[in-house]
Structures are given as C-alpha cells and as structure tokens.
Symmetry: C2
Subunit: 172 residues, 2 copies
Amino acid sequence: MSLRHALLGLLAQGPRSGYGLLKHFEGSVGYAWPALHSQIYPELARLREQGLIEQVGEGPRGAKTYELTGRGLDEVRRWLRTEPDRTVRNEAGLRIFFLWLLPDEEQARFLERELDYQRGLLSELRAIAEDEATPHTPKERAYRLALEAGLRTTHARIEWAKWAIREVRRRR
Amino acid sequence: MSLRHALLGLLAQGPRSGYGLLKHFEGSVGYAWPALHSQIYPELARLREQGLIEQVGEGPRGAKTYELTGRGLDEVRRWLRTEPDRTVRNEAGLRIFFLWLLPDEEQARFLERELDYQRGLLSELRAIAEDEATPHTPKERAYRLALEAGLRTTHARIEWAKWAIREVRRRR
DNA sequence: CGGGCCATGTAATTTGTTACATGATTCC
DNA sequence: GGAATCATGTAACAAATTACATGGCCCG
C-alpha cells in the first residue's frame, strides 16, 4: 500500500501528471521507494475510481493532470498516523554474510565496489542539497529532513566500507 | 533471486533443515533479507529439483536436513561475483517526505517513534555483537562485517532522528 | 526529418505476504 | 494433559518487475 500513499502524498503538493509523478520516483522519493511507470499508471486509475484523486485537465500528448481530492488528503494523513512497516531489504547487505565464500582479494574488491557506489550516491545527494535552499515552508523542511537522512546513512556506509576494506586487507 | 542464494549461502556453512534456515532469517540474515516459511519451503523444493541442494537425512518430526551440492556452491560463488541490486525500500523513509502534511507536534512524535525503534534495534544488534567473540575464521569475519554495517547505519539513523526532532521542535 | 524525450497504457511473470492446514515433540 | 515450539507444507492474494505496445511533441 506504500505506492498508493506515495502518489497521494506527492499530489498533496499540487496537481501533476502520471509522468510528472514518475519523475519524482526517479528523483526524490525514489531513493526510499522506487516505482516504474507500469505500476504508477494502473495505480492512478484505481485511485481515481476510488475518488481519492480526480483528473482536472489534459496537457499535450494526452498527458492527464490529476489533483488530490479531500478524501485523498484524509487518506494520506490517516496513513501517516499508522505504524510504518520497518521491513528493510538490502541485497548488497545480504551478500556480506556470504563474502567468506570468496578469496580475500575478491572480498576486498567487492567492498571497494560498494565504497564506489556509496560515494557516487553521496555526490548525487549533495548535488540535490546544493540545489535546495534553506527550507522556509513545512514541505521544504520535510524534504530537507528526508535528504539529511540519506546523507547521513550514506556517509555511515562509506565509513563502514573503508573500515571493512582495511579489516579484510589486514589479514592476507 | 536473492532468497534462493541466501538459502544456498547459509547451507554453505553446513547441513541444515528448512526450519533451521528459517531461524537464520529471523536472526542474522533476516536483518538484510527477511523471509517466511511459506517462501522458504517451496524454494528448497525447487533447489533440490535443480540439484543445487540434496536431502541428506531426516530428523524428528519429519525434519529434512539439506546439504549444498558442488553445483550449489558454484552457484552461490557465481552470484556473489555479479553486480548487486542496489534497490532500497524504506517505508519509514518514504513517510518523511510527507511529514509536512501533519501538524508539527505529530511530526515530532513520528520522529520520536522512529528514534525509539532504532534504539531498540541497536540494542538487539549489540546483544548479538556481545555473543560473538572476535572472529577467527573467514566466516566469522564476514558475519562481523555484516554486523558492523548494521551497527553503524543504525547509529547514524539514531543521530539523524535526534537532530530531526530538534529541527522540528525548534520552530514551533 | 530524425532522435530523444514526453506520455500512457497492458500483459506476463516473478516475488512476497497472508491465510489455511496439519501434526510431532518436549517440557512443565 | 496442555502449552510452546518444532516442523512442513499449500493456496490465495498482493505487489513489483520485465516485456510488449503505441504514439505525440519539440528541438536541432
């Protein structure tokens, strides 16, 4: 049910097309909850049937602009007050448990790829942080909180990877 | 394909029953990749059909003990050398983007629940860390690396939550 | 006028969750 | 004897990915 609420939450900022929402999944919210167009479009159709969003216009190329309804806004708020699902899935993290099945040199290379990836991610996040000025509205502040969460956990993973590489190279 | 390889990876440590594997998903590897018995048992049956594992015995209450085959070990190693899927899904993280839809006081309470949760998780991880002595074998070292990753990212999330609460309470 | 991106959809498949279902052993 | 936990499975449903499919607009 997260995709559904993510769409409603994004529409709470103002009317948008399905494609516009898709772009938000590639940028901001996609870091926490990725989604593809093949999942977004059918979900929007369902939300519309259920009266949580409404089509308020049509742009070029058949673009449909959706707007949140009152019931839609109530529904996001209700969701925000429920207990989050804390499930985490991290494939790279899973692989660490089995690293011992590879020779030391390959373990170190695995960890270096991890380090590279996280450094790249940190650059991306920093670029976003530079774009966004100091928050003035509640919405901007919330986005700043989300961004800061990404910056800090990515930083922690970078420091971990550096430590892990030393740990693996130490005894060879 | 991650569940499949997680099962193979766990069986690389030695023979185990489906139930024994399930317990590993509730503890250690489950922090990175959770799985329930309803997914594990059918997957074990498939791995057996494909000759990646073999049933080597039967314990009390119809418990089936499985062992990794040579082909099974090759398959985990092959998988470990492929690029990990970096997809992350974090429902609590997603909600941060939409926090502005709640009044400040509720935002702060949301963040405090997040802080409590992460503190609880840190305690669990620390308890595991105390149980496990300094690593001597490659397997123990890999587990230590995985645990350290959990400890560091959880710590980062705790510090983030404390900062975020101050941030939200500051301007009220 | 061609390439890239805007824009929307559906279908097939895989993966994961929830619910249903059963029975044995062990410990108190 | 009863509760907790061991132990295995299937079925129904929901969510997510991959693949199939189509066409419009804009810029150079």
